[in-house]
């Protein structure tokens, strides 16, 4: 598949169909992958495509305004491009979407940091319940889409971790999250890696007024994490990058998935389904539930 990708990339660059291609290359350690930006056909040799290509490259689109960008995407990443189009952050005519058939990607956190050799692949949580095989749209499709049959165990509940937490008492839930958030160092890797966190100046950085404490403490960390989650409500497409990027292992996907589950149940809304869709919080239904309102 990497060969097919390289050839396509060379063709696109030679024919000046794109100014650059955002893709993956092998990282310096020789095992993992790293993002790369290819603007000459010679460099196209660097491109790779395999289960180590974890990154959602859509985050880089904003770095190249007004350029024609080829971008290698997985099925899940594509949805974030849909949201970016919906929110007028990229122009479709500047995009050439190279959809790569995705066998599932690794869970980086499961790699033993001491082991210097290639290790057995453990798939990321999001891949285990991913049922989508064919990308909704693309310009170029690399290889026939097929799914690793170890994955997508039909019937596996993608909200299982969420439900487990829901089943706990409110005190237990608070203790759990208090302990998780206590590790947050406010490095904002979760925000920076997120393709949908593109605000010119995040509310977390604003000072007049400051919306919540910049201090690394319970109130500051809780406020930041709630704000991040709220700002992704109806937008998060579960690429899982926030959780992967978090150096201290906060289960951010479990928060995103909770909101995803609620809005599906309460408002029949799913993020990233179409460009024309109205944003969840810019619309309403007169019959939205309100049982908690007095």
């Amino acid at each position: 598949m990497s060969e097919e990708l390289k050839n396509k990339a060379k063709e696109l660059l030679t024919n000046k169909k794109v100014d650059l291609i955002i893709g993956y290359q092998r990282a310096a350690d020789g095992v993992l992958a790293a993002p790369c930006f290819i603007d000459s056909q010679d460099d196209a040799e660097k491109l790779i495509w395999d289960s180590y290509c974890v990154y959602n490259l859509a985050s880089y689109l904003k770095d190249f305004p007004a350029k024609r960008k080829g971008i290698v995407v997985k099925v899940c990443d594509l949805k974030s491009i849909t949201v970016l189009l919906q929110e007028n952050q990229v122009k479709r005519e500047e995009l050439l979407i190279i959809a790569a058939s995705c066998p599932g990607v690794i869970d980086e956190k499961r790699l033993n940091p001491l082991d210097q050799q290639a290790q057995e692949i453990v798939f990321a949580g999001k891949c285990k319940t991913c049922k989508t095989i064919t990308p909704a749209y693309y310009d170029i499709l690399i290889n026939e889409p097929q799914k690793n049959d170890k994955l997508s165990e039909i019937g596996q509940d993608e909200y299982e971790p969420v439900r487990k937490l829901e089943a706990k008492s409110i005190e237990e839930r608070f203790k759990f999250w208090e302990s998780e958030f206590s590790r947050c160092i406010r490095c904002y890797a979760c925000r920076q890696i997120c393709p949908l966190c593109y605000c010119p100046k995040c509310v977390a950085e604003q000072i007049t007024p400051g919306y919540f404490s910049k201090g690394v403490n319970l109130e500051g960390n809780l406020s930041w994490n709630i704000t991040r989650a709220m700002h992704l409500a109806g937008r998060c497409i579960d690429c899982g990058e926030c959780e992967r990027a978090c150096p201290v292992g906060i289960p951010l996907r479990d928060i995103n998935k909770k909101i995803e589950k609620e809005i599906k149940e309460l408002f029949k809304y799913e993020a990233g389904l179409s460009v024309e869709q109205k944003p969840l919080l810019s619309c309403f239904d007169k019959s939205d539930p309100e049982d908690f309102i007095k």
Binding site: F174, K258, F284, D285, K286, F292, I293, K294
Partner: protein, 141 residues
Amino acid sequence: MTGDRSEWEPKIVGFLCNWCSYAGADLAGQSRLEYPPNVKIIRVPCSGRVNPLFVLKCLSSGVDGVLISGCHTGDCHYSEGNFHARRRFTILRKLFEYLGIDPKRFQMAWVSASEADKWAKLVKGLVEEIRQAGPNKLGHR
């Protein structure tokens, strides 16, 4: 943080829309209905004006309970603001519950300009509920 529980009095912030709930609270005054003094009112044009960041700010500043009160659905002065608020805060509340934050600390109500009685009862009930929930430990006061 508040120390002695016996001296502790719940501190509650109420965001009231100008057209219905604020006027409802006015009417409660005109009707001389008595209710506890714990709710501090911040007037906003519409419940749709309330940003979840305000609620977070309250809870992280040591406020024990937050109330957002607006017009009944269909009565919004701006026609749709309360519908937007309802959706927005339904999600926030679900998130609070999930994170283990007592949902009693964040409440919403529809109080019309004529519902002075509802307003007075709401405040009484709210103060009682928050009193039972105890001081908010999230905040720094």
